[in-house]
């Protein structure tokens, strides 16, 4: 805690904004002095945080719509029929952990996974729930909080070849909410949205008929044109825009970085391992991106808002082996295995979650409705000890009876594992000092 009086708390680190007014090196980065200040502050303050950090990057698989805990990772086979999942359970090789029968591959990798069965909050709308989970703040109408991805990108600082925060296909989650966006941080920390087909990321390829040489010529032309600068002088908005162009050029001029977005460079065998689904391709792309240096990659898997026919919808009854659960099972297990084999799992935190769980009672249509009081999250890699369960819900899956975990707890933990101190203050709208998180504690059982 660093209280002090409200007006001086912004400077409790001893840095004053005017000390940075002389720093001129950032003109090319499109950053204001206050951005710089934030980095300086962060860099100084997060030394201790960095020591406890385990991961350098994070892959978040976001199950958009709210995945049913009772039909995936927290089945209640002994509950009455109106609650019990239509699916049976299978063992995992870890004593005491049973999963849904449609997650057989995941069951085999549970030794890598810490399963939180006591995620709980009270916001049952898609947008509010998503914002709570992805920012660690209850949504307020006053302003937007930055998402975890933007906070990690902010912590990474500018200048890398790879975009620090990437969203596959984009940062729309929770029904077009702003949950995964940059909030009050500068736009430079928003996600690079790769577009709807992870197998073909748009606008990364030069236009048809434009060779690399020609694109270089165009770039020179553009430089020359801007350098005439008869009319438009250097100013903060031009710097912001130039920063994106430079980021784009860095990306385009690095075949490795650009290649990271190209799934066709993967063998057919690897692609098959992840499955042919969107989420499979997304997870494979995410692995390529963190391998190449991205810090936070969100893979959004839509369609988990299962208000009806869970038995027929989650595994697609018309095509055995397909559907939401089998696709996720393929993708998730392949991702963890692949990262482990490449020696990347210890430095990559993989998080699997959605905005809330679903009602214990099956509704008249054989589906379940929104239920934020109980849900699950899976954490793997990044120093997390797998093969364990944290927390538990009651016999009917209604609410946690053991070790409740709140969205701020989860956000706090993810940030901490990635080396960002959640108690730091950032400069919010109108210059007001805002702590990254106001509440939440580290889930120490993960380590």
């Amino acid at each position: 805690m660093t209280p002090a009086s409200p007006s001086s708390s912004r400077r409790c680190d001893g840095i004053r904004r005017r000390d940075f007014l002389h720093v001129g090196l950032l003109t090319n980065l499109g950053l204001s002095v206050s951005d710089l200040l934030r980095w300086q502050v962060r860099a100084m303050a997060s030394e201790p945080a960095r020591k406890t950090a385990h991961a350098t990057s994070c892959i978040l698989i976001w199950l958009d719509g709210g995945p049913s805990h009772l039909d995936t990772f927290d089945l209640k086979p002994d509950a009455p029929a109106e609650i019990r999942s239509p699916f049976t359970t299978i063992p995992t090789g870890i004593a005491g952990i049973h999963l849904c029968e449609h997650l057989p591959r995941t069951a085999k990798v549970m030794r890598e996974v810490a399963l939180i069965r006591s995620l709980t909050h009270e916001l049952g709308n898609h947008d509010t729930g998503a914002r709570f989970l992805l920012t660690g703040h209850r949504p307020t109408p006053a302003f937007e909080h930055p998402s975890l991805g933007s906070l990690i990108a902010h912590g990474a600082g500018p200048g890398g070849t790879m975009p620090p925060y990437v969203a596959i296909p984009g940062d729309n989650v929770g029904g077009q909410s702003t949950a995964a966006r940059a909030g009050y941080l500068p736009g430079a920390f928003s996600a690079f949205n790769v577009g709807k087909d992870p197998g073909r990321v748009r606008d990364l390829d030069l236009p048809e008929g434009v060779s690399f040489d020609r694109s270089e010529r165009r770039r020179d032309l553009l430089h020359k044109l801007d350098a005439f600068a008869r009319t438009v002088e250097d100013a903060p908005p031009t710097r912001n825009r130039d920063a994106f162009y430079q980021q784009a050029y860095r990306l385009l001029s690095s075949p490795e970085a650009r290649g990271a977005f190209d799934l066709s460079q993967e063998s057919a065998k690897t692609r098959a391992r992840y499955g042919s689904s969107r989420v499979g391709a997304g997870c494979l792309l995410a692995r390529r991106l963190v391998e190449a240096g991205s810090r936070f990659v969100t893979v959004v898997d839509t369609g988990w808002d299962t208000h009806q026919q869970i038995a027929r919808e989650l595994p697609d009854s018309r095509f055995p082996g397909s559907g939401k659960l089998p696709s996720l099972d393929h993708a998730y297990a392949a991702l963890l295995t692949d990262l482990r084999e490449r020696g990347l799992l210890d430095s990559t935190l993989v998080v699997l979650l959605g905005e809330f769980g679903r009602t214990p009672k099956l509704n008249a249509l054989g589906g379940r409705d929104h239920w934020p009081r109980a849900g699950f999250a899976c954490l793997a890699g990044g120093g997390v000890q797998g093969g364990r369960v944290i927390g538990a819900t009651n016999a009917l899956g209604e609410l946690p009876i053991e070790r409740p975990v709140s969205p701020p707890d989860l956000a706090f933990t993810i940030l901490k594992l990635l080396g960002v101190d959640p108690t730091r203050e950032l400069t919010g709208p109108g210059g007001r000092p805002l702590r990254i998180l106001n509440e939440g504690t580290f889930i120490s059982e993960l380590l």
Binding site: G30, D203, N438
Partner: protein
């Protein structure tokens, strides 16, 4: 009572004192002592809400990060910044069986031992044992930790001086703050209030109320005390070269210029000269009509002789154009969040047409807003009724009304008194109560007879009351919303006019006089306070006429200044010494690219040729508009977090189809067909994209480039690509 009698006796007959037996004499002394103490304590005023609580606030005990958090800290919760004195008094004196106060040994009170960190305190040491604060709290406990008169409160604070003109950097100025209490008393509270600077790079302020000037510019210093706020404005003149010629050249065209010039002179920021004709024409066409000027318009304009009517004439033509209506419909639709996710398709269409019709007819802003707030009927048929579909919760609707029409953020006051504005929880919920009885059954907006908003503390229904007004609803025959509209759009509701003129100022000048534009409050002073007042007064006097406002703004010299800086004004980003760069809205940028290249954009579901600014709602699929960042109208885009686009936008403009597929059609195809010579070709490209003629240096550079290129078509495509990707094309400058 006995003491009192003794006192009376003593006063009536002092000479008899000596005759009194000893014990009586002692008693009289004691009573005198009590009297003395009583008077002394009264003079010191140990009242909790006006004296003790401010001391705790000042020590930082009740900030959001400490005990003021919604859940408190360490089991001890205070109201945020002390907005609820009664609750705080209870927490201090009654909770935990009153163990925070030690009645036997006041100095041993937990309250003091924690705050001075004589025992473990996570919040650290707030003040030392020998501080004035510790002594004050101890005296308060000794006196029995009184609350004081129940109704006593601070009704206003005043800070002096009200404005400061700094003579030099590092200058220090002592503030003086006086509080007026509800019992009429005035107190010097300079040492008790909380101070903060809006921009401590310009000036910061100590907690003793001493302002220290740090840099150039202007900032508000905010003062808070017992739920009241006040501010003083510090101007710190720039220390650039004295550019008398620049000031002398600035000939005011109207009241705007006089007030802008006054600020520039005070802050010693020289104004830039006028923008040249081509730049000005491009700027006005984009700002008023959302399009580039055509090459013919440019040529005609450039060829016209100079006259006082030359630019005003163009303004009038643009104001009367269909494109003006299209663009300003888009702007107001974004402001009103017209058809975000919640709107039905039919509703969106009638709402859009209704709004466009209001803009086309130049219906006064007060009438438009009244129609929105009081609308009734089927959403699928009555356009403005869709405004009420923004939210079902009356509180949420009230917040929208606050930000959209009053430029004020009342949201904080939902849960606690606004920390930097005057709104209390009561203000908030009473304001929301105006919408408590709106029903939307079967897609029809009506006023029902049931539904109330409850105050969260008392759980009782509150009576509707305008924000910041003492009067409550009286006329039970008028609908709640009609009564709200009466107050909202009244000429004397200064926030209503200020909020719109501030937004229009931002559309045209690139930065609001108050930023953010939805945060007008005493403690967030305008860059030009007198100008904001004058513009609002002008707007009211002209009957809330938006076109008149746009005309007044664009005819000022301020609007016509060049964006290029002169020595001494480069640092200025808010006093309008030079034009600010404005990134165009996504729709406008897409239209600009289509117009420049002569290749239309076609949209799904549109049979007629449609420009992007004309699209109804925001649901029309368009990868280009998504990537260019169209406002999704889910929430306000006025403080959009991405400025200058994003990585995806840069990649799209460089590599994507929006520009690349247009390079070899339309404009260039025509040039090829006409076999224009190189010089004329370069000139045509410049006129279509940058809306000006190339300079001699540019013309010769590109001419020789094209001539030297073995592939002429390719060279021209590349030049056009570079023009469309240039800063100069992208920004309205």
């Amino acid at each position: 009572m006995k003491n009192l009698e003794n006192r009376k006796a003593g006063r009536l007959a002092p000479s008899r004192f000596s005759c009194f037996p000893g014990f009586l004499l002692q008693s009289a002394w004691l009573s005198l002592l009590t009297l003395f103490l009583h008077v002394h304590l009264r003079a010191e005023r140990l009242d909790f809400p006006t004296r003790i609580l401010p001391a705790l606030t000042k020590a930082g005990c009740n900030t959001g990060a400490c005990h003021g958090a919604a859940t408190g800290q360490g089991g001890f919760k205070l109201s945020l910044l002390g907005y609820d004195p009664e609750l705080d008094h209870l927490a201090l004196t009654r909770e935990l069986r009153a163990r925070r106060i030690d009645w036997e040994n006041p100095a041993e009170s937990l309250l003091l031992k924690k705050a001075t960190r004589e025992i473990e305190h996570e919040g650290g040491r707030r003040f030392s044992r020998d501080s004035a604060a510790a002594a004050l709290l101890e005296r308060w406990v000794v006196a029995g930790a009184p609350y004081g008169p129940k109704e006593l409160r601070v009704v206003g604070i005043k800070v002096e001086p009200t404005e400061i003109l700094a003579a030099s950097l590092e200058e220090t100025i002592a503030l003086r703050v006086t509080a007026e209490l509800s019992d009429g008393a005035r107190e010097d509270v300079t040492s008790l209030v909380l101070y903060s600077s809006n921009d401590d790079a310009v000036a910061d302020v100590t907690q003793r109320g001493v302002v220290q000037v740090r840099g150039f510019g202007s900032t508000g210093i905010m003062v808070r005390y017992a739920g009241q706020v006040a501010a003083t404005l510090v101007d710190s003149p720039f220390a650039g070269p004295q550019n008398r010629a620049a000031f002398a050249a600035f000939a005011p065209q109207n009241f705007i210029d006089k007030l802008v010039l006054a600020r520039l002179e005070r802050l010693r920021v020289p104004p830039s000269p006028l923008a040249d004709d081509a730049t000005w024409l491009r700027r006005a066409s984009l700002d008023l009509a959302g399009r580039l000027p055509t090459p013919e318009e440019i040529q005609t304009f450039l060829d016209q002789p100079e006259s006082a009517e030359k630019r005003p004439h163009v303004i009038d033509r643009l104001l009367g154009s269909e494109e003006f209506t299209d663009l300003w419909t888009l702007r107001f639709a974004d402001l009103l969040l017209l058809s975000g996710r919640r709107g039905s398709e039919a509703g969106t269409t009638v709402y859009h047409h209704w709004l466009r019709d209001q803009v086309a007819r130049n219906r006064p802003w007060n009438e438009i807003v009244r129609a929105l707030v009081t609308a009734e009927g089927r959403s699928a048929e009555v356009g403005p009724a869709n405004f009420l579909s923004l939210a079902n919760d009356p509180r949420e609707l009230a917040e929208h009304v606050g930000t959209m029409f009053l430029g004020t953020q009342i949201g904080c006051a939902r849960c606690h008194a606004h920390p930097s504005d005057r709104w209390t929880q009561g203000d908030y919920h009473q304001f929301a109560a105006y919408f408590a009885q709106v029903t939307r059954d079967d897609g029809t907006v009506r006023d029902g007879t049931r539904g109330e908003v409850e105050h969260p503390k008392t759980a009782r229904a509150v009576i509707p009351k305008p924000l910041g007004s003492a009067a409550v609803r009286t006329d039970r025959l008028r609908s709640r919303r009609a009564e709200l509209a009466d107050w909202l759009v009244a000429p004397d509701n200064s926030l209503f006019a200020k909020s719109l003129v501030n937004r229009v100022w931002k559309y045209l000048l690139g930065r609001g006089l108050v930023e953010p534009v939805d945060d007008l409050r005493l403690t967030n002073p305008a860059s030009h306070p007198a100008l904001l007042d004058a513009l609002a007064a002008h707007f009211v006097a002209r009957g809330f006429d938006v076109r008149d406002l746009v005309r007044t703004l664009t005819q000022s010299r301020t609007y016509q200044l060049a964006s290029q800086t002169v020595p001494g004004n480069k640092q200025d980003d808010r006093f309008h010494s030079h034009a600010l760069l404005k990134p165009p809205a996504a729709q406008v940028l897409l239209d600009m690219i289509a117009q420049a290249t002569g290749v239309r954009e076609s949209f799904t579901g549109q049979t007629e040729p449609t420009r992007a600014v004309q699209l109804i709602g925001v649901q029309t699929p368009s990868h280009a508009l998504d990537v260019l960042g169209r406002c999704s109208r889910e929430r306000s885009c006025e403080t959009a977090s991405i400025s200058g686009g994003g990585l995806a936008q840069a990649l799209h403009l460089m590599n994507g189809s929006t520009i690349n597929r247009r390079l070899n059609q339309g404009l260039l195809a025509g040039i090829q067909e006409k076999k224009l010579p190189d010089e004329a070709t370069v000139q045509t490209l410049y006129l279509h994209t940058l809306s000006r003629l190339p300079t001699p240096a540019e013309a010769s550079e590109w001419k020789s480039l094209v001539a030297a290129s073995p592939k002429r078509t390719e060279a021209l495509e590349d030049l056009l690509w570079a023009l469309l990707n240039s800063r100069e094309f992208f920004f309205n400058h």
